[in-house]
Symmetry: C2
């Protein structure tokens, strides 16, 4: 089975509390390991939950509030001290270059590896990662600072060979044609086997959307429609709706409304305010609107089957 | 009893490992709570070990390697979000101003409280804190970056009234004279009671020296002579002596040699390299030179009686 797995490293809002760490998630899709946000302690949580920092080549930072990036420098120093050589790509809003440069300069550190810093445009969707199987695009969010979420989406997959119906002796190279959706033809161009008789439909392309931090924003619904897993911040409950409005955060119910409107498969809640010791009230609130809701707490993993 | 207590928040060297956190200690002396170094996760560890961030008014940063200061911004943001109003004094080598300013600017944060940043001189001893009861002075260390340790020292204390020998009816204001060491005289200047007959010697002035990071440096011995507790980094064992020399760190044995030469009361070892899962070998190595050695691991507290 090809990997599609999200590991929660931190579930806390701006002020860490009750053992909850600031925002960070490890997203493993196929052979790529992505770090999504990198709050303080992310490297400690990666170690704790068996994440492999050497496999991370891309780090996506949603915005420059401290609880979303303050673990970055520590992680970079550790990569350096572990003799990393591979390029590391970091995607962030404007400003991170200056923040990093100052810290590298005063620690007199020159990393062994190249840091490729990509500055995001907060107001438009951009494809920021694209390989044979997968794209990652930004999701413009609505927060106090320029901020984007990230949508991970597998590309259309090949059709699957139906081994039971495969005629004997068909040469190997024909398989590629079948997977790509072509019929099998002879030299004259005549169809010998119709594709649909020898193949099954492709596995579904899986998707994950990370949306933190944001006020309730229906503008994102169209982009994330039918996403398999939606992580949406839920800093507050409806009882603290005013506080949510004031700080441009969402309530659990609002997160659930977005999930319902987007027809998402599953909703993960996170970025919990320090005012809540217990998180069940947030879960209950969201489930009244969207049943398939879960708490995205430290060490939890969420996977999608192929 | 008047407080003199050190709580270890982090014992790790540059690369955190085995659940050990980067350098940070909470030092409580009398009514003052000091934070000494502030590695990544310091605010999480403070919460875990019941440190009260609102009581911290002075933060001493030994040097600008990430493992000694990367928890600072997170702590400042949390203080801000908790509506701190009191001034906060931060003492650091040159560079922290630029690092902090960039991060405050891009997060569009203006703290509610004043941050008083004091730049340390790495090459000379300075008294950087001085109140009625206590001084803190810097200890020039020998490391890859400008770096100082910190010596906390109670001032000479008053003589203690010996209640058993105190004559009845002596007015209250005379007590101050006795505590200050004066004899009791009558109007003509004649000694009525000798001070030594009514008082006991002062309680001892307690002291704590924090020395991290540093290569073996006998130059510090004179300054820390007879310190009650010496924390000295012990990144490596003697087996890795070459590595210690190369990185300007100390071995456990070297830390113990310094403690012995300084005639310290107690030695605490910390700043352990990620290469050691078990720390007993470092302790054993140091104890062959200096018996009163302890491991300064997370959550440990060390107190000095009055």
């Amino acid at each position: 089975m090809v990997n599609f797995k999200i590991t929660i490293l931190g579930s806390s809002g701006a002020v860490p509390a009750y053992g909850r760490y600031p925002s960070a998630q490890l997203v493993e899709i196929q052979n790529e390991h992505f770090l999504v946000d990198c709050g303080e302690g992310a490297q400690l949580q990666l170690a704790r939950f068996n994440g492999n920092i050497h496999r991370i080549n891309h780090i996506f930072i949603s915005h420059l509030h401290g609880d979303h990036y303050l673990g970055l420098m520590g992680l970079l120093f550790t990569m350096h001290l572990h003799h990393r050589e591979k390029d590391l790509h970091i995607y962030s809003q404007h400003g991170l270059h200056e923040i990093m440069t100052a810290q590298l300069r005063y620690s007199r550190s020159v990393p062994n590896f190249n840091i490729r810093l990509h500055t995001l445009s907060p107001d438009s969707r951009e494809i920021i990662f694209d390989n044979k199987w997968l794209t990652v695009e930004t999701i413009p969010l609505y927060h106090k600072l320029p901020c984007t979420g990230f949508l991970f989406r597998e590309k259309q997959k090949p059709r699957r060979i139906d081994k039971d119906r495969l005629p004997e002796g068909l040469p190997h190279y024909r398989m590629h044609e079948l997977k790509a959706g072509f019929d099998i033809k002879d030299e004259t161009g005549k169809i010998v086997y119709k594709n649909e008789d020898l193949t099954l439909p492709p596995n579904q392309s899986r998707s994950y959307a990370y949306c933190s931090d944001t006020a309730y924003a229906e503008s994102i619904v169209e982009q994330i429609t039918k996403v398999d897993i939606l992580y949406h911040e839920a800093t507050f409950t409806e009882d603290d709706k005013m506080k949510a409005a004031e700080t441009l955060h969402s309530t659990a119910r609002e997160a659930a409304l977005i999930a319902r409107k987007a027809n998402a498969g599953k909703l993960l809640l996170g970025h919990f305010s320090a005012r809540y010791r217990e998180l069940e009230p947030l879960l209950t609130e969201a489930r009244t609107v969207f049943t398939e809701t879960y708490l995205a707490t430290e060490g939890q993993t969420f996977t999608l089957p192929e």
